[in-house]
Amino acid sequence: MAKSSVARKEREKLPAPAKMTVTLHVNGVAKKLHLAPWTTLLDALRIHIGLTGTKKGCDHGQCGACTVLIDGRRINSCLTLAVMKDGAQITTIEGLAKDGALHPLQQAFIDHDAFQCGYCTPGQICSAVGLIGETRADSAEEIRELMSGNICRCGAYPNIVAAIEQAMSRKPASRPKGGA
């Protein structure tokens, strides 16, 4: 312990490298930011831009709660440095609804009660948007395998798979829409 605290103090003595200017296009809006190079995309979104829909779960790429889309591909924003994504198009959960209408996956998650606490949900939905764009999943079995990067501690998996199946096939909802 003593050794690591000494190492930490030595590190703290180092001058902080200059911040870098980065432009991220988040949900279609250009955001110019001045960031330390070690700022993750997740922290840039949540702390610097104020979009807190993207969640920090494990912060180690193991849970998928931080999933966002970069140029249409799903990635873990907690393992991505914001400075490496200068100029990229980033889509977060806040960018999915269009003209006041929920994205079909958002609606499907409501229709199928595909969450309990909801903490993993933004990541699940962004991941599912990526999954559908990849066109590699046709069956429930393939959806399960290709959604394995998103952990749900409440165990809503069967309903998550059903919601994604609905959004993929555009089948009518199994229950009346909304409720409120």
Binding site: P37, W38, G61, V83, G130, L131, E134, E145, S148, G149
Partner: protein, 338 residues
């Protein structure tokens, strides 16, 4: 994370120049392992050199009929590339057995080769680890070692190499192209990763100021008779306890050529040429496969918690070779082992 500097490399020569100029610098591409290691305080680079803008993202034919994979090709693009799917399905299968779709979208071919062990003690900076801190000791030898090596380990380190992709590359006899100050060189896959010996902190034979530019596959992809069988604690998104990459060429019931490599069992992807030679010319039967498994595991040694891996590996070898011989490779969607 520690306070590192950040710069971008404009081309391979610039990347080599930058890494040579700063002994504490490291390259970053996908970042899926490196950023995590920095967060944990395991790796403390003075500078990250972003290589993602280098033109190393192509998959192209080589003159000898093989395929050259640029170091920056993302794992998912590689696995789903039509030529890989058709000519090297063993590689596609191994890649899809690893990580998650998000991580495969980020992780690169070159980075996959350089990822570090997921040994708990390597990650836990409060414990001794010869790989993280040379000379401090190995906590795993007498610790929790269920995930650890049964082949090629040393008293200094019993960590395993975590990659699935590399197991297939070992079996396919790939080559690694690396550029440095003295130009480019080609490294046989078997010579790329190292056994721990008394220098477990050195994972590979890549020099500090070299950059991987590509991975080359020879023409033979064993596309007809292959299987990648991965055994793990949960069905997806988990590291291998044992994995087996098997490739066979069979003529009239006799094996003409065999390839066999294991993951999750050693400090490097574990290819066994003696077992391959033994299979060559033998009938494609369970008895031949069992004999090959015995050969692969002739010097296997457990460290208590991982003793079960020896028998698991024996069965996995027989099963993967059986799947390969019958042309029914392990599905990476339906995980039932048949």
């Amino acid at each position: 994370m520690n306070n590192f500097e950040f710069s971008r490399a404009t081309d391979v020569a610039d990347a080599v120049r930058q890494i040579a100029a700063d002994p504490g610098a490291t390259f970053v591409a996908g970042g899926t392992n490196l950023i995590d290691l920095i967060k944990e305080g395991v790796t403390k680079p003075s500078r990250l050199i972003d290589i993602t803008r280098l033109q190393l993202n192509r998959i192209e034919d080589t003159n000898d009929g093989g395929l050259r994979i640029g170091a920056l090709v993302p794992n998912s693009d590689l696995a789903y590339h039509p030529e890989i799917d058709k000519r090297y399905p063993l590689l596609a299968s191994a890649i899809l057995a690893g990580a998650s779709p998000q991580l495969r979208n980020m992780a690169t071919a070159g980075g996959n080769l350089l990822q570090r062990t997921r040994c708990f003690y390597f990650y836990d900076t409060t414990t001794p680890c010869n790989k993280r801190e040379p000379g401090s000791g190995c906590s795993a030898v007498d610790g929790l070692n269920r995930m650890h090596a049964i082949l090629g380990a040393s008293e200094h380190c019993i960590a395993t190499h975590p990659s699935d992709m590399c197991v297939a590359l070992a079996a396919l006899e790939a080559r690694v192209l690396a550029a440095g100050r003295n130009g480019e060189r080609s490294i046989a896959f078997a010579d790329f990763h190292r056994l721990p010996g008394d220098t477990p902190h050195v994972d590979t034979n890549l020099n500090k100021d070299e950059i991987i530019t590509a991975v080359e596959l020879p023409p033979n992809g064993f596309a007809k008779n292959y299987s990648y069988l991965k055994i793990r604690d949960r069905l997806s998104y988990a590291f291998a306890l044992v994995s087996v990459a098997a490739g066979l060429e069979i003529e009239n019931g006799l094996i003409r050529q065999a390839r066999l490599a294991l993951g999750g069992v050693a400090h490097k992807p574990w290819r066994d040429r003696r077992a391959e030679a033994q299979l060559s010319g033998a009938p494609a039967t369970r008895e031949s496969f069992a004999r090959a498994a015995t050969t692969v595991l002739r010097e296997a040694r457990g460290f208590d918690h991982n003793d079960f891996k020896i028998e698991l590996a024996r069965r996995a070898i027989v099963r993967a070779l059986t799947q390969a011989a019958s042309g029914t490779p392990q599905s990476q969607i339906d995980k039932r082992v048949r």
